[in-house]
């Protein structure tokens, strides 16, 4: 299968890191051994064989609620819209594409201005399953789409988001899995000329969640704000690997991911790759990851990467920091009269506020915060 990226151009040549193979055929992708840059943080043994694309023995229960005018379809595997934005960069994504039996498509027509969100709920009920979700926002439309993952599953899922010129999409993906779930996800966003994407990636559960959000721009003036929030508990592995590719001129990207970790063996990984191509003059990008380690035994890896092939950028920067809420900080707050459980809540709420306050859906905001507080309460003080 040909190697074509979302812009239709051949992948960038120069640069330090080798570009991953991009292909829909799973066998074009080598089976990782664990030392590869893309896999070195992931505990392969906990993937439950998803690298080899086991046949599904269960189905995700899909339900969609959408305002009038939004078209919901099941696409056939041969539909040309599948693979328009996403060309798999690893085996699980390729298998998810091959085994999803087409895809669930959400189309919001040109110039529509939705006042209610589209909610796509994917509920796992125990086994191996795949799904491929496509969202297309027509030119100059505005909409909010929520993808909500719950239940228990061994799941490889792809998401392709195509944003028309001048359109504005808020896309929220919630990973609120049961504790035993494994989720590998390739989430590809294609931002049209003068279009705007605001995405929220909220990972709260699962035994292992590994998401690869990628952003490409099809024309100048695109703007992508990618927010992420994760709460990694004892024994959980949550990995977010972002790749923002600026090949078009005058586009903007902002990445802000915040994670809290607690408990023995909690492991969070954040990789933020931003590539600015030789023609992408006027690019403005900044990426940030902050982690808050609440207890001993938790570990956060945070690796920002900026690769710049043009000298004419408006701004390009990154920052990454991992702080500890340790016994001394707890003592400090308590010495000001604040009880221990409230001190912990204060710290975590304050830390996440920057992200949560930006979610325009009050119910979801509440749900995220109360889930976070549940997890806090679970560990006790």
């Amino acid at each position: 299968m040909a190697v074509i990226d979302a812009t239709g151009r051949p992948p960038a040549q120069a640069g330090a890191a080798p570009r991953p193979v991009r292909s829909r055929d799973p066998e074009d992708h080598a089976v990782p051994g664990g030392r590869e840059e893309a896999w070195r943080f992931t505990p392969l043994r906990r993937l439950r064989g998803l690298l080899n694309g086991p046949v599904a023995d269960s189905k995700v229960d899909v339900s969609v609620s959408a305002p009038d005018g939004v078209e919901i379809e099941r696409l056939a595997p041969t539909d040309s819209r599948i693979g328009r934005v996403l060309t798999p960069a690893d085996r699980p994504a390729a298998f998810a594409m091959a085994r999803s039996d087409g895809g669930l498509s959400v189309t919001i027509p040109a110039e529509a201005a939705l006042t209610e969100p589209v909610v796509v709920s994917l509920r796992g009920d125990g086994g191996v399953c795949y799904e491929h979700v496509l969202v297309e926002l027509g030119p100059f439309a505005t909409a909010t789409v929520v993808l909500d993952h719950t239940g228990s599953a061994t799941f490889a899922g792809n998401v392709e988001v195509f944003i028309g010129h001048g359109a504005a999409l808020t896309f929220v993906t919630v990973q609120d899995w049961a504790e035993d779930s494994v989720h590998l996800g390739a989430h590809a966003y294609s931002v049209g000329r003068d279009a705007r994407l605001r995405s929220f990636t909220i990972t709260l559960g699962g035994d292992l969640v590994r998401l690869n959000p990628t952003v490409d721009y099809r024309g100048p003036g695109g703007d992508a704000e990618l927010y992420g929030l994760f709460f990694t508990e004892a024994g959980q592995h949550q990995e977010h690997r972002l790749l923002v590719t600026h090949e078009a001129r005058s586009c903007r990207s902002r990445v802000t991911y915040k994670g809290a970790l607690q408990g023995e063996g909690a492991h969070a990984v954040w990789i933020g790759d931003v590539v600015i191509g030789a023609d992408a003059v006027g690019t403005d990008t900044y990426e940030l990851n902050r982690n808050l380690v609440l207890t001993d035994g938790a570990r956060a890896d945070s690796v920002p990467n900026l690769e710049i092939l043009t000298g004419e950028v408006v701004g390009a920067g990154h920052a990454s920091a991992t702080g500890r809420f340790d016994d001394e900080a707890l003592f400090y707050l308590m010495s000001r009269g604040i009880p221990a459980d409230e001190a912990r809540r204060l710290v975590v709420r304050g830390f996440f506020a920057e992200i949560v306050d930006r979610i325009d859906l009050p119910e979801l905001r509440e749900r995220v915060m109360s889930r976070v507080e549940e997890e806090l309460a679970a560990v006790g003080v």
């Binding site: 809420f325 707050l333 010495s335 710290v347 304050g350």
Partner: protein
């Protein structure tokens, strides 16, 4: 029975610290001290004599274990209280090294703290004004309110922030552990004025730990105590501070076995 005047009473206080390598080590070896409402006491003493240990023990830091003696506030057993309960009872510690708390803004922190100590949330309108005024008094940029507690603050900014909290919490007893250290002349004047303003209200007993007399020119103590080897070894009036700065602690330290040597 109620005590007419708020009073912190420390009697025969022995404190050990849990060291990582050697197990418990006795640092305080029988401290006696009484601080009444409105009084100002200075504690001076060489490095390692146990001054911070005393302050942490009163505030309830988990690393320090009281092995003997009592601490009471208005007759209540302070040692039986949790750290937060001590603060709500009216004890305040301005720390020698204030701790960074990532994620919590100063404004959020101050409000949570005032709510806890006062027993009810202060009314928003008056609260905002109160904080503004207190910050202005300490010449703190209002932008600090939105920053994370102590994160990236300079040494002097941290100390101002401690005094800001003391101002808002109006404690019965305030222990100021080297609040003057690391301050330049201007900052020292500003911070001292902040302490003075609290003291002038007459509701707070102050225990000021310092190595230098320069702060004592602004905040004048009625009592000066010398701590060496985990005990109060001398006491006097303000004149004692001046003598100490001139002649040092040699005459106290000799013959006192250093705390560090005790196992």
């Amino acid at each position: 029975m109620t005590t007419a005047v708020s009073v912190l009473e420390i009697r025969n206080l022995h404190v050990s610290v849990d060291t990582d390598t050697e197990g418990p080590r006795e640092i305080l070896r029988g401290v006696d001290l009484t601080v009444r409402k409105g009084e100002t006491h200075a504690i001076m003493g060489p490095n390692g004599s146990g001054k911070s240990t005393l302050s942490y023990s009163i505030a309830g830091h988990p690393k320090y274990t009281v092995t003997e003696g009592t601490v009471t506030l208005d007759g209540e057993d302070v040692l039986a209280m949790s750290v937060d309960a001590r603060a709500r009872a009216g004890i305040f510690l301005a720390m020698q090294y204030p701790v960074e708390v990532p994620g919590v803004s100063v404004s959020n922190f101050l409000r949570s703290s005032a709510t806890a100590v006062r027993g009810e949330a202060p009314k928003l309108r008056t609260w905002v004004k109160e904080v503004k005024q207190a910050m202005a008094g300490l010449e703190m940029d209002p932008a600090f309110a939105e920053r994370s507690v102590n994160e990236g603050f300079s040494g002097g900014e941290k100390k101002r922030h401690e005094i800001l909290q003391m101002t808002l919490l109006a404690p019965k007893v305030a222990i100021l552990d080297e609040t003057d250290s690391g301050l330049d002349v201007d900052a020292l004047r500003i911070v001292s004025a902040g302490i003075e303003a609290v003291r002038a209200k007459g509701e707070t007993g102050i225990l000021l730990i310092t190595h230098y007399t320069r702060i004592l020119r602004y905040v004048k103590p009625e009592f000066v105590h010398v701590m060496a080897g985990g005990r109060i070894v001398d006491e006097g009036g303000p004149e004692l501070a001046a003598t100490l700065e001139d002649s040092g602690y040699d005459r106290y330290v000799k013959g006192v076995e250093p705390a560090a040597a005790v196992s």
